[in-house]
């Protein structure tokens, strides 16, 4: 049975290495998905953790201050001030009323510091068919890739 011992030892080494690679420092690679309300309920845990939070961009809230873009995300009745300071230009779809996802960390001052913004146009939402020209289209769309 000696040869099976060798196999077993090798397999344990390989699997062990992989498990170690998978779990070590996993915290750094984690991103929490939260709604604005949930973010508020996280308490102290929220500071320092990487979070992705979604909501609608409040109309008229987008301001450019120096290199930063500051805006307010709204979901149901919760509001969150977001400061974007990433290097990529903001997506074209990012505008008043758009659905946006901000990826970053919550600062101690309650402002969410985002390094990445994704946005989806609000126009892709349902309207009744049989519309007049200029109206948006009916869409029950799932974005499809």
């Amino acid at each position: 049975m000696k040869k099976y011992g060798k196999f077993a030892a090798l397999i344990v080494v390989v699997i062990g290495t992989l498990v170690w690679l998978a779990t070590a420092e996993m915290k750094d690679n984690q991103t929490y998905y939260k709604t604005i309300t949930e973010l508020g309920q996280m308490g102290d845990k929220a500071y320092g953790a990487r979070v992705r939070v979604g909501g609608d961009v409040e109309a008229g809230s987008i301001k450019h201050i120096g290199n930063q873009t500051v805006f307010v995300l709204v979901q149901d009745k919760s509001r969150l001030t977001v400061a974007y300071n990433g290097s990529d230009p903001l997506p074209d779809t990012f505008k008043d009323g758009a659905q946006a996802l901000a990826d970053g960390k919550l600062g101690k001052d309650g402002t969410f510091q985002a390094g990445k913004i994704q946005a989806k146009c609000a126009s892709k939402y349902e309207a009744k068919p049989g519309m007049k020209p200029g109206e948006t289209l009916p869409n029950i769309n799932r974005s499809s890739l």
Partner: protein, 672 residues
Amino acid sequence: MENLGSLAILLAFCVAIYSTVAGVVGRLKAKPLLIVSARRAAYVTWALLTTAAAVLVTSLMTGDYRFSYVAEHSNRTMPMLYKFAAWWGGQEGSLLFWSWLLSTYTAVVVFSNRRRHANMMPWVLAVLTTVQTFFLLLNNFIANPFQMLATDGLIVDVKDGNGLSPLLQYPAMAIHPPMLYLGYVGFAVPFAFAMGSLITRQPGDAWIATTRRWTLVTWLFQSTGIMLGAAWAYHVLGWGGYWGWDPVENASLLPWIAGTAFLHSVMMQEKKGMMKVWNMVLISTTFFLCILGTFLTRSGVVQSVHAFARSEIGKYFVSFLAIGIAAVIYLILERLDYLKSESQLESVVSRESSFLFNNLILLASCFAVLWGTLFPVISEAISGDKISLDADWYNRLMVPIGLFLLFLTGVGPLFSWRRTSVDSLRRNFQWPGIASLVLVGALIAAGIRHFYALISFGFCLFVALTVIIEFYKGAHAISLKSNMNLLRATVELTHRNTRRYGGYLVHMGIVLMFIGFTGHAFNLNEVKEVTTGDKMTIGKYELRMVNLAQGENENYAWHRATMAVTKNGEYIDTLEPEKRFYKASRQGTSEVGIRQRPNEDLYLNFGGMSDDNQRAVIQAYVFPLVSWIWIGTLVVIFGTLVCLVPSKVKMQYARTEVVGVAQASRPARLET
């Protein structure tokens, strides 16, 4: 029209159920006529689904905007090619496409095996039609592509459709989904044969021999599909990457990894009668991962952070997977005795062992990717927090795994069956080993300190040399014996054993791809806001903006930068990155400017306009060696095609019979 489509899929649903039941009953009660009717029902299913597909495609092409699917995924200004591609551009259409492909495959399988495997075929057909029934269930009752737009009970149309997402309006993207689907659906066939063989306790490995080519072709489609996706991401998305460990990408990778493991471990069964249970498990895993992949991409269960739309389809997939997996586990456990291995592992340094580790690593990576992909779901179930893992996590895990696999690619094929002598190790690996060490030494001397990159380059040279030496040795012997030049002798050699040398070619392609992946360690990037006349530098390149223009046509509005590229003070090229904004779908896309060269790509993306709308944000990247990924892919495709050519010399595989002392000690190594 709309009634014809709906009627066709409804009838197809009934006929598929009939086909399953008639086949199984006919087989159990030994009623040949019933079996024949089940077979014909499979053809009828195909005819009905073809009709349904034709209705959908026609309405897409002619722009019948009374169909909700057409209104969502097509519009008037789209070119014909993309109107056709809209067939698989959305959920309902792509599921119909799945169904149609499966029915086509089933018809082909039934036709080509109509005089063979009389014992097993009814079950094979039953497995396929069961899967077909499930998809038709979705087509009919969950995601019906023939839904009409209506207000107050009256069918209405809209003036124009939303159009296919402009990101998908790209030739590689038009054929990427069908390629992947050909792969996804294709694995249903070897799976069905495996189950048929298991249910009827077929002696021997008929199912493997019958489906070998099928599996290879399926694997080829899937590989091509995945790489088309990578090439599309690189050329279209504007971030310069080709792989981001996105759940949708992972969904296509998972069955590919399991399928690759299956292709390798099947050789163990063919040649040594080992790993029979394992192969059953692997092909089932591959098939279920294909279903899971369809589920992940179609249900939005994982990336639904976006919560843009959560579809109802999920629970049907989960039920189907649960029932299917339970059935397979039951079958395998119930028939374990039939799957008994005919020989045993003997040495760690043997071909068997290298296959074992190849499988272990592939499966481990498959599990890791699955774990990472489903982590948001798992973590939500356990702790209530929805947590995702980023690309760094995958890379930390998958880079060492990939390198280890690359190493096995080099040594595995040269190990002998059963055990490898020290002498043969030295003979095969001495020079490639020394050459790789020299290369690594030279690279360190040249100032490269990236640990994984050094290992990767070392292994790449090692594997490439072992493959080249194998070709050279064989070709040299033939050229001496039959007086040919070396080139013709290489072709002759490959033709004599296409599986072996085609396999080597695939490995060579993988090496080239790894060279391309390794280039990632040396990427450069630079972002700057520039206007006409401004300059920026990246690496050895200097970029000057010659012109900044904008305009629009009926389909989209655009901004375009014209950048003159100089290197060492000499003008070499002009690149024109462009940003488009599509009107119908209100989405932006990038048309990147790329200067592709074998040593590196210069890649310019028009990021957007600056806040004051005066300057353009230009993102410049240098990607060393990235072209080798695409070249390697072509070599992989070529090698797989070679594997499919029948060998000139029929190989006689020595199979160790059920282990007896006298036989086991006889060398069983005729085919290498």
